[in-house]
């Protein structure tokens, strides 16, 4: 029974990570799937969101910290929203420079901004605590839940051990429930957006920019809106990650974990389809976790094992692009809810 609970607890942990990635893929889907914007600096917006939220809602600098700033301990919702707002503002600035130019320029500029942000996190210790990372970021509702569990366990001393073990992991279930609510809400809002006139313009721009412009649509303005919205959502994902992990350091925002795997998730799941985006996050993260178990049985060093896994994910992306560019689910063709195409 204990093993079953152990597996269950692992699955909850797995689902939490996959949910955070779902938020990232939903954000990227607004940019790439709806509008065709090629942002390969996802990690930058994700990191900005995570650090913003941690500084707004986290504790003030400790005595051993290099940081001299932030840690206002504001409630989680404020940290969460400011994460989205700051990431969106950054996107507004970057988009304002590059959105009118060819798609290659946005791609390069987005790599650049992600790299600059990574360097800033590493080097500006007064703000981010540098390579020592941000510690003790509070998880929302952690204390009420945890003390509730303590009270429950004290009142029921004869519980079978597996049930007590399950109860001790209760907080992760609560966090997962909150995450599922966020993903569900985002999904609903984004579906509404996609099926609205606004969403139709975005898809028109993606499929034929000149035709959309000829219809009198302000192409640059719509692209900028999609870019800012998508990046804001990536910022929210950063906040959700920060308050679960409780510790932030620069490694989590390197190009593979922060950007590349998100792209593979979206493309494999089915870009242009929000269900595909969520499905892709769970599938690819499952694959990634699965290969972790697999490489344990091979006589490889840690570096080799992780390199091999990245090669597999890279081949997956190339394979999907060559063999099934629609992804697993693919985009649904529709005009509006009144009118089936």
């Amino acid at each position: 029974m204990e093993t079953v609970v152990g597996i269950l607890n692992y699955l909850v942990f797995f689902a939490i990570t996959a949910c955070v990635y779902s938020v990232l893929t939903l954000g990227l889907n607004v940019q790439w799937g709806y509008t065709g914007l090629f942002n390969i600096g996802v990690a930058g917006f994700y990191a900005v969101g995570a650090y913003t939220s941690a500084l707004v809602s986290g504790p003030p600098p400790g005595t051993l910290d290099w940081r001299m700033f932030g840690g206002w301990g504001l409630p989680f919702p404020i940290g969460f929203l400011s994460a989205g707002v700051v990431a969106a503002l950054l996107a507004l600035l970057l988009g304002w420079i590059t959105i009118r130019l060819k798609e290659d320029y946005l791609a390069i500029a987005s790599i650049g901004i992600a790299e600059v942000i990574r360097l800033l996190i590493k080097n500006e210790a007064w703000l981010t605590n540098g390579v020592w990372g941000l510690k003790n970021i509070p998880s929302p509702l952690f204390h009420p839940v945890q003390s509730g569990v303590e009270v429950f366990l004290a009142a029921h001393p004869q519980l079978p051990p597996w049930l007590a073990q399950l109860a001790r992991g209760a907080y992760n279930w609560v966090y997962l429930a909150g995450l599922l609510a966020v993903v569900g809400m985002l999904y609903w809002v984004l579906e509404r957006g996609l099926r609205s006139p606004w969403g139709r313009v975005l898809r028109a721009i993606r499929d034929d920019e000149r035709a959309a412009a000829a219809q009198g649509k302000n192409v640059a303005a719509f692209k900028l809106q999609a870019f800012v919205l998508g990046s804001g959502i990536m910022g929210l994902a950063g906040s959700l990650y920060a308050h679960y992990a409780r510790y932030l350091s620069v490694e989590k925002f390197e190009p593979f974990y922060g950007t590349f795997i998100v792209w593979v998730m979206l493309v494999a799941g089915g870009s242009g389809n929000n269900r595909g985006a969520i499905l892709g996050a769970f599938l690819v993260w499952g694959l990634w976790a699965g290969t972790d178990f697999l490489t344990e049985y091979l006589p490889l060093s840690d570096v080799q094992a992780s390199a091999l896994r990245v090669v597999l994910v890279g081949l997956l992306l190339i394979g999907v692009l060559l063999l099934r560019p629609r992804g697993v689910v693919g985009e649904q063709r529709f005009v509006s809810r009144l009118f089936k195409a």
Partner: protein, 302 residues
């Protein structure tokens, strides 16, 4: 020492790193103008080239021992250089056959994405084979020559010389050979090139071969200049490469030379004023300014 007195010295370092960036950027610009997509795996082609070069160097050191003082290497480098360039060209052609050729008719942005995938695969294959610890081209501590108050190592003079020769050779190739002319024709107008009887697939293969050979050269020279290579080498150079290409005008090889030198100089000179760890950010800063002021680049056409 004040920032101003350092400037001539930093300018020399800038020319050295500018030479390396130029070789990478020229290849990137070449593939862009003929294949019509930004090849995000170009940096990692530098990495594969640098590792091939080191492998061949170890192989030939047994056959051709010795060292050309004051350089840090001996005759073994020359065959290693040549074989690595050929090997890297072969690798790029194989990748093209397996991946890019099948997407030739797709939207260019899908090629871009495939290139990102190829970049991660190549880098991690190198990481898998060679592990993450740096490998050394040379562990010798080299004394710098002093010319007119400026310190420069013999290896650095070699880097500049080889880059100059390579760029000159490319110029002559593009200008006077039949293949070179066909490449320029295809860059100008692919459809017209095809109807005038140019075998476009052959031109594409040549483009990959040239671009990858130059990338290998850039990777090896960076190994000689920095003494060591890591699997991250090419990825870390990608931003300066693109900055150089955009600065010069995307798709213009001569612009890429100008851009490469400018970025090299800007990066090195900036170290007099800001922390060295922000070197890649300097390249990005130049890029952003250029996008704002003159997005078509210094020598670009619109």
């Amino acid at each position: 020492m004040g920032a101003l007195e350092q400037l001539p010295q930093l300018a020399v370092y800038g020319v050295v790193s500018g030479s390396i960036i130029t070789l990478g950027a020229v290849g990137l610009s070449l593939t862009y103008s003929i294949l019509r997509f930004s090849n995000f795996s170009h940096g990692d082609l530098m990495t594969t080239g640098a590792y091939m070069g080191l492998g061949f160097l170890w192989l030939f050191q047994g056959l051709l021992p010795g060292r050309w003082a004051p350089l840090s290497f001996g005759p073994a480098l020359l065959p290693a250089l040549a074989l690595a360039m050929v090997g890297n060209a072969g690798l790029a052609i194989v990748v093209d056959r397996l991946v890019f050729r099948r997407l030739r008719r797709a939207k260019p942005v899908l090629l871009l994405m495939a290139a990102v995938g190829v970049a991660f695969v190549l880098r991690n294959l190198v990481l898998f084979g060679a592990q993450s610890d740096p490998l050394y081209y040379s562990r010798r501590i080299q004394r710098a020559l002093v010319l007119g108050g400026i310190r420069i190592k013999a290896d650095q003079l070699f880097v500049i010389g080889v880059a100059l020769l390579a760029v000159l050779a490319l110029h002559l190739f593009l200008r006077y050979t039949k293949t070179g002319k066909a490449m320029r024709a295809m860059a100008d107008n692919p459809d017209l090139a095809q109807v005038s009887g140019i075998n476009t697939e052959r031109v594409v293969i040549w483009t990959w071969a040239l671009g990858a050979a130059l990338a290998a050269l850039a990777g090896i020279l960076s190994g000689i200049e920095n003494k060591l290579i890591t699997p991250e080498l090419g990825w870390q150079t990608l931003l300066p490469l693109f900055a150089a290409v955009i600065l010069g005008g995307i798709g213009s090889p001569y612009g890429a030379m100008l851009g490469g030198m400018t970025i090299g100089l800007a990066e090195e000179v900036s170290t007099a004023f800001i922390s060295t760890s922000y070197k890649p950010a300097v390249a990005f800063g130049v890029l952003v300014v250029m996008l704002l002021v003159r997005p078509q680049g210094l020598l670009g056409r619109r």
